[in-house]
């Protein structure tokens, strides 16, 4: 880490929302220059959570990689491994059975629900404080998330990083009574999510903290490469599940919520509506689960026997944060030659230096929370 004197103008206060901070959503250093309470300049510093996933992928075989990729964006594990697995399947020309696609959709949407619940809880923490109303919302959201993790536990054996996606299909199959458990949980979640929506929708304090705060204009969002709820809240209706569907999303009926102003309140509304849509997608897919195998390759034995043809492929999924893509270059051997992960949070937080100046310090946490970055994703 280079030692550098922070240059500032006269009359400015240079303050560090340092790597260790209760509300930077991970290790992230935000260097703020304040004049009074107004932010004048901001410089983000990242890289504190870099684990070298892309370089590590060059030393491991294909079948060993999905569990590593799950730890990238650690709040929605199956989205990451799904992106990688789709890229390999595209390159090697492997077809995935329909039942496996449905199961992938179910786990991906359940994880999207879990991730958005974490977002809502930590957003409440940022706005309201860890000793106060925010922590009440936080504990409620995590209580609901435990239900989803209980589902994953009864299906796969671990609660979160389940290693469900494999190249060619899924690992676990449903058990008798899975749909009954899932429907019960979904009904419970639907009731609770409507409760939170009512609690926050017209709440004057919430409106004051999020309306007209952190407005992201459409051109800026497109220029920076934002995606996911951040882009959709600014008015661009782009969702990979609709525009470039993958793994059975084309068979379901769901809507993509779009905001119009691009402030923090719109991002909140978009995510809440996405949660409701996820509930409906899981219901549709469980209702129509087709029979058949869950894997289309022979059982994995020696990983070094699986070779992909030479070439490159790119596959993107809609993670709860945006477009998560994996670009794979192969030289014909059993290890990838180069993997590049296009992380959504990296592009999303590039918005911060453009919109933050002019706001007050208290809006910093509001804006950062509504962009929903995950630093495992930013730094990989």
């Amino acid at each position: 880490m280079e030692e550098r004197v922070i240059e500032r103008e006269f009359g400015e206060l240079a303050i560090n929302m340092g790597p260790q901070h209760p509300s930077t959503h991970g290790v992230f250093r935000l260097e703020l220059h304040l004049r009074g309470e107004t932010v004048v300049k901001v410089t983000p510093h990242i890289g504190y959570l870099h684990r070298g996933v892309e370089k590590l992928s060059e030393t491991l075989e294909y079948d060993m990689l999905p569990p590593i990729y799950e730890r990238d964006d650690y709040l929605s594990p199956t989205a990451n491994s799904l992106a990688f697995v789709l890229a390999v399947e595209k390159l090697a020309g492997i077809e995935v059975p329909r039942r496996a696609n449905y199961l992938r959709v179910i786990t991906a949407e359940l994880q999207r629900l879990a991730s958005h619940l974490v977002w809502l809880g930590t957003f409440g923490l940022d706005l309201g404080g860890s000793l106060g109303g925010g922590s009440t919302l936080f504990l409620y959201c995590f209580r609901e998330r435990e239900r989803i993790m209980d589902l994953m536990e009864t299906l796969t054996g671990t609660r979160f990083h389940t290693n469900m996606n494999q190249i060619g299909g899924v690992r676990y199959d449903v058990y008798d009574g899975f749909d009954r458990d899932v429907f019960k949980t979904l009904d419970y979640l639907e009731k609770r999510i409507s409760e939170y929506k009512e609690m926050l929708e017209n709440n004057p304090i919430f409106l004051e903290r999020t309306k007209d705060v952190g407005i992201v204009p459409q051109e800026l969002a497109k220029e920076v490469g934002a995606s996911g709820p951040v882009l959709r809240a600014s008015g661009v209706a782009y969702d990979i599940r609709k525009n470039k569907p993958y793994s059975a999303y084309q068979e379901f009926n769901f809507q993509v919520p779009v905001g119009n102003k691009g402030d923090a309140y719109d991002r909140y509304t978009v995510r809440l509506k996405e949660m409701k849509e996820s509930l409906s997608i899981v219901r549709q897919s469980l209702g129509g689960l087709p029979e058949g195998p869950i894997h289309s390759r022979k059982p994995v034995k020696t990983p070094s026997l699986f070779k992909t043809p030479k070439g490159e492929a790119y596959a993107a999924v809609e993670s709860p944060r945006g477009e998560l893509g994996v670009f794979l270059v192969s030289d014909g051997s059993s290890k990838p030659y180069r993997v590049k992960v296009r992380s959504p949070s990296f592009s999303n937080i590039a918005i911060i230096p453009h919109i933050l100046p002019g706001h007050l310090v208290a809006d910093t946490v509001s804006i950062l929370g509504s962009l929903d970055p995950v630093f495992g994703d930013v730094d990989r």
Partner: protein
Amino acid sequence: MAKKVSNTRLVKATLLALWFTLKNLLRKPVTIQYPLIKRPLPERWRGGTFALTIDPETGEENCIGCKLCEKICPSEIITVEMEKHSGRGWAKSFILDLQACIQCELCVQVCPTDAIVMLHSMETPTTRREDLILDKDKLEANGKLYHAAWATGLKLQRLHEPKKPSVISR
């Protein structure tokens, strides 16, 4: 929204927030007082530790020392040495370093003889780092302490056969 929310709605929303927290006061708390009370683990639970199984009929170890688990582990925590006698392979030594395990269960999936399994146990913490490096004796002793998890190698491989329909049973 372009229109401003009316004042009565704001006051109503404020009181609604208070009402929701009050409603929660009357619900039962969700805390489970671990370790006084332990919650029941689901059937497919795969716990934090491993065991090497022994064939109940012949009393021999199942592990043939084929090193498939060593090759597939992404964290490279397994080290196996093989020896051959009596017509089949054996594992001369088997070291599993639990400190770096990411619980992906790939080693269980590839085992051709169901030798290595994860156990239906909670995380078993220890007080020394040496206790986390499991050798063959500790692994076989673990197998006597807890029973194996639902997913064993042959079961997972049968789930994946493309010809047969999917196995459904709880």
